[in-house]
Symmetry: D2
Subunit: 450 residues, 4 copies
Amino acid sequence: MTVEVIAIGGYEEVGKNMTAVKVGEEVVIFDMGIHLDRISIHEDTDIDRMHSLDLIERGVIPDDTLMKDVDGKVKGIVFSHGHLDHIGAVAKLAHRYDAPIIATPYTIALIERTIKGERKFSVSNPLRTLNPGGKLKLSKDLTLEFVQSTHSIPQAVLPTLHTPEGIVIYANDFKFDNHQKISPPPDYNRFRELGRKGVLSLIVETTRANEFEEVKTYSEKVAKMILQDLMEGPLKEKAGMLITTFSSHVERVQAISDIAKTSDRQILFLGRSMERYCGIAENLGILDLPDNASVYGTPKAVTKALTRAEERREDFLLVTTGHQGEPDALLPRIANGKTPFSIRQGDNVIISAPIIPNPTNKANRHMMERRLISSGARIYSNAHVSGHAGREDHRDFIRMLKPKHIIPAHGELEMLSAYGELAEEEGYRIGNNVHILRNGQAQVFNGGIS
Amino acid sequence: MTVEVIAIGGYEEVGKNMTAVKVGEEVVIFDMGIHLDRISIHEDTDIDRMHSLDLIERGVIPDDTLMKDVDGKVKGIVFSHGHLDHIGAVAKLAHRYDAPIIATPYTIALIERTIKGERKFSVSNPLRTLNPGGKLKLSKDLTLEFVQSTHSIPQAVLPTLHTPEGIVIYANDFKFDNHQKISPPPDYNRFRELGRKGVLSLIVETTRANEFEEVKTYSEKVAKMILQDLMEGPLKEKAGMLITTFSSHVERVQAISDIAKTSDRQILFLGRSMERYCGIAENLGILDLPDNASVYGTPKAVTKALTRAEERREDFLLVTTGHQGEPDALLPRIANGKTPFSIRQGDNVIISAPIIPNPTNKANRHMMERRLISSGARIYSNAHVSGHAGREDHRDFIRMLKPKHIIPAHGELEMLSAYGELAEEEGYRIGNNVHILRNGQAQVFNGGIS
Amino acid sequence: MTVEVIAIGGYEEVGKNMTAVKVGEEVVIFDMGIHLDRISIHEDTDIDRMHSLDLIERGVIPDDTLMKDVDGKVKGIVFSHGHLDHIGAVAKLAHRYDAPIIATPYTIALIERTIKGERKFSVSNPLRTLNPGGKLKLSKDLTLEFVQSTHSIPQAVLPTLHTPEGIVIYANDFKFDNHQKISPPPDYNRFRELGRKGVLSLIVETTRANEFEEVKTYSEKVAKMILQDLMEGPLKEKAGMLITTFSSHVERVQAISDIAKTSDRQILFLGRSMERYCGIAENLGILDLPDNASVYGTPKAVTKALTRAEERREDFLLVTTGHQGEPDALLPRIANGKTPFSIRQGDNVIISAPIIPNPTNKANRHMMERRLISSGARIYSNAHVSGHAGREDHRDFIRMLKPKHIIPAHGELEMLSAYGELAEEEGYRIGNNVHILRNGQAQVFNGGIS
Amino acid sequence: MTVEVIAIGGYEEVGKNMTAVKVGEEVVIFDMGIHLDRISIHEDTDIDRMHSLDLIERGVIPDDTLMKDVDGKVKGIVFSHGHLDHIGAVAKLAHRYDAPIIATPYTIALIERTIKGERKFSVSNPLRTLNPGGKLKLSKDLTLEFVQSTHSIPQAVLPTLHTPEGIVIYANDFKFDNHQKISPPPDYNRFRELGRKGVLSLIVETTRANEFEEVKTYSEKVAKMILQDLMEGPLKEKAGMLITTFSSHVERVQAISDIAKTSDRQILFLGRSMERYCGIAENLGILDLPDNASVYGTPKAVTKALTRAEERREDFLLVTTGHQGEPDALLPRIANGKTPFSIRQGDNVIISAPIIPNPTNKANRHMMERRLISSGARIYSNAHVSGHAGREDHRDFIRMLKPKHIIPAHGELEMLSAYGELAEEEGYRIGNNVHILRNGQAQVFNGGIS
């Protein structure tokens, strides 16, 4: 039985992930993401209303048109976790396949929201939840397993496909974090077991493979400790206090809440996406917000909350969207004087997010920070740890899994290549058993694990 | 007689230059520039219609309010050259002083245009032209001399004030270029003569003082040679061809013209500022455009020219504004599909300008280049040399002038400091005879050259 | 009574700190450090045997010859902490002053060792210990106080001089760390009290003032948590294990010990300076080494220990000198095959130190890492946090102390300048109440705190 | 007939180039270079005396042991040009093959010298010269052509193999320079002709493929113009004057000579490798040294020359080796006070070479510059242009040749990858017709040009 890994998207960029694995006559699809950076190249891009083919042409979603030449039955569309670069194209692409959508409960809930927001297509694939650690038989030959892992969003798993030819692991995205509050540590024992059973191919993210500074990614516990030190002073000062972070980073949101819950401030989570990610997480019992916290998402509710905060700024902690300085998000709008809440001399702003390094983000963030500072704010910007595995984490992963083949994924060519060189240090060889693919290319394995 | 150098603007930034020199009871002002970067911090900034005090508060123009406490008669407002960071605030500030405006003919012509465009104030100071190399007696004690120099705009001079206490030289901005076509080489002999006569203080630009890579700034002849190699191919191809460069950089415009004049293409200089700087330069006999060149500035004329070029793209060379990707300038608008001329597969675009390094420019330029490339253009971007003295040029300058005191100017603190360290290598000492000032501070010299 | 701060060393470099404070007719000297980088410029530099004047000429120690023109009685030579850039020149310079040496017990013990090692001069100044938090009357007018602080060496204090004209604080070097095991947190309450009493001048280190990434320096607790995650795997593997860190960083050494004490490995601290710093720290009850730890310093003892470790590598954890790759230190020598212990495939090496950024260190470290890797070692290099205050720590410090004047110290001009700009954000002004000095310059305060 | 390109060395590094092309049963080898950086990892590496297998193990020379499994008759060992990373291993490897060595006259002369210096092996392959532009029939099926090209050494050609299946071009290394004095411009017409005939595969250097700043490499004419401006002052000053550049860069040496020949100084070319490269070039009529120039290579002659120069420094221009600061080369030894010539206050040193970017060079160069400056020298370091094609040169090259396949070579993986992405912009696809190989891998072409 031939196994074929088809690189559809995310093999030439950080974004729009999509991979198909064909085993004999059956196919499993992993992820359908979007590429956020590409949206801004054409000013008139309107995702919700545009047709897939236009979005494909603009590089916003994966080009899955090659799938029409793939002769096989799609048995499932599997999502690894709920970030937009993994689920964002679901409403544009999933309806073309006669197969269920499978993901963890939190991811499924986010997918439902995405499908609901779609204006062009209607998506009616059945939705199936599978818990971390769970298994699901997709067909006589194929069983899907969600191996417990950690990332910067809850219920991120490593979808693992058991095939007659060996195991295929889709490790896209992950970090090794043993100290998260919400997510248990990665299931290292299971990794080692899988390694002993025989991994035919590891498909693995490479977003940090070309970074040589912090080679084992720090735990979220480190971020929490740093946040604690940063927040301690501002929480006590008689001044405004704002924090911005990733809405989907529920572990971080939880940490902020835990630190602030014994303070005299009311915690307001503000912004549409803050409401989306945190609301769902709270409903599913993932996020445990303290009594002094509230979430406001609609423009009207946010405005009202900001009006209150403007009056007694020392009584609130505002947790907002806008960490990249995106002009339409909340913190940049506050910085620009476009909300009822205005920054005053002595206000403290904590940015718990890195600049996602593209020129537009750098410009937006710079502009936002200049404006905040010129209004008198003090900015703290060093409270973050990455959600992606570092080089030494990858090395450990390879040693645990001992895969026969490795397909580096989710990255630009230089990241895939850097991962390839790392794998060579572990005895692999690019071109032999490490396969660097371009979007649209496939790698065929004729012999399985023997 | 006491000599006092008053740092008004440009001592904490690259931009908004303004310095006053008080000699006994008389004052001479040098430059009144704007700070372009600051304009974008507040979205509602409208220079032409805003009051000086508002612009001062936003950091857009120099804060000259301290001049009301300076007890002295202003004898002249002297402009070194026609760049906006030296003349841009003339219409906002000059009318407050009862003194003539003095500059070279090209600079005067640009100042006249600026004054004409002003909507808030009316400026009626007399305009006096002084040629490079010329002298003008400002009072019994003060004589102004315009020492021949070179920069990236024609008729840039080093205004030099002869006082009873010694010479004060305002070297802001300059490079040492012995091979320009339009401007003769700097008058090194005169520099040495001034050094022998006795320079009390050198006020000197420092924009490249903290760059250690290219330590003697390359001549424009180098830029021309590089341009020649770059343009050779595209001029002959059957494809569209565009060049963007600084409108005010007439030497560069001349070089482009000289290279293209024997080609079969018509050269179209397009854009409002292109028309302003080149038009004036041509009228004054500074710029010598070939027969196959035309200049179009008004939106209507530009549109018409672009319509023609769209039809027979291989017959034209378009020289446009927009090298920083500024969304409203011509090349970015072409890239964005907002003009009758559209980029097609195979068109060549030469960017003869560096990215002026701030995050907004980087983002704009990136976006423009992505759009050009996605439409099929090929981009050449390495045809530029700086217009500012490098570290070794500065060292030569100090050795020629042997000033008693040095005041580093036109730069952020790190540039002023780096210049200070360079001066220390030449035997000076920061704090003793190298004086690092902040905007609004003054340095008093009690003893002159003895 | 006039107060004068005399910048002797460390105002143009990171290294060779020395400052004198003259109050009326009395003088207190702070620190006498060396500049390690300068030693390598001249290959024949031999510190122990060279005369002070030669070392001064080579820039290795502070040029205190200007002190002969300072008309005042030296009442004490005060050392802030035991790093070489603060105490390293004591044996070359202290004997010229008829005054006691004053420092905390750990620092005094290190000074005694330095004096013992000196081959050129004999130093007989009385040694006086003063505990953190303690006070000492130096004269009728002057009282010295050691305010509790934190840094990357034990018993680092902020020497504070109470004078009739106000308080002078010598904050050189420090970080704000509330979670060290060995050192209690900085005495923030005392800082605020001093601020209320009236601080005439703050003399303050600036080594990280021009870093904008991590603006509040992380606690050592963060380093320990990271180390714990890094060490966990290697401690359990059947392979060699080495850690290198700063010998003087006793808090880090303690953390390593605490993590490894329950493992099956024996911990060997190896190298002359490891023995010096840890031995003294253990004797003074500062460092608490576990039962499975031993320290070996002499070449013979180290060789013997390495021979044992070579035989049963999985039973030892070697903690060595050489984190910068200095060719004569232990880890580089091991990497280079010059010791009985050789690196084998699978050995783990943790470098718990940053590259101190100069070209020689970069080259040495690169070479060492290449050699370790080519012998089969796996290197972990991201377990470190800085020992110096970040920008936001400095901002907090200024707000607590509210000094009338600030003198940035311990840094290159760009660091001093960057600190100056930070102080300006807090309402100060360079040139008015922030004074940037060069080595050899002095700042006189005529009016005290009123 | 099958064509196979075998990547032996230079596909994972900048250095040790070696490629074999097998056509049917015949093989042609291109280049046998060394990897200079690798030599310093092991301190005891002695190239002249070491066996090939040891050098292979240390990564110093290409691992050609795989050639024993290549079933074919070697018809020629072809050298593209005389740099050490292309010819340096000839004495270690060539004797294993029963085939003639073929190169241009200058390259052959350099190879002869290398063979003469060898202490371990004796090389007796016949040496055959082929002029740029010339052709040589290697067998019934294979014809070798040396297409005229330009680089940073004279007589660098693009060896081109005409096979029954199409043309294979070995473009390793080259730049496009239309203005060299010694070498005529690249034969662009021939490139286009070859493109029309049918290029099966282009093997192409990629050393600058990942640089995006200067995308069309500047001509040597630019370097000469810059040198002229730099040298003008120092030539006239009454002070010592030294220039260091690549000995093998005869075009640069010629430029320096041409600029200095009308001065009053005697030009002394000093150092063993200076004598080797310039001596041979002069003998072959390639280099035209003026009457006031002499070349000294032996230690004794150099010492004597330096003694003369020390006495009347203003009468000499010393052109030396040592631009990377290598401790044993001449300029570093002068800087370190180890020669009869000592640097004095006011001497001028021009470094006409970039820092080849590895940590050791950076450290050596830094140390040399610090020493020169501390002795009073003034350093000029910006007179260089690259000898390697930039991205836009590569694009032009692809368009001229229209190869069916491309094999990026001579670079680290990131360079090869960056080239691959460039080729993709021109319609190629990595993995389809752009083949990224690792050392030891081969690419087989079954179908030729049809």
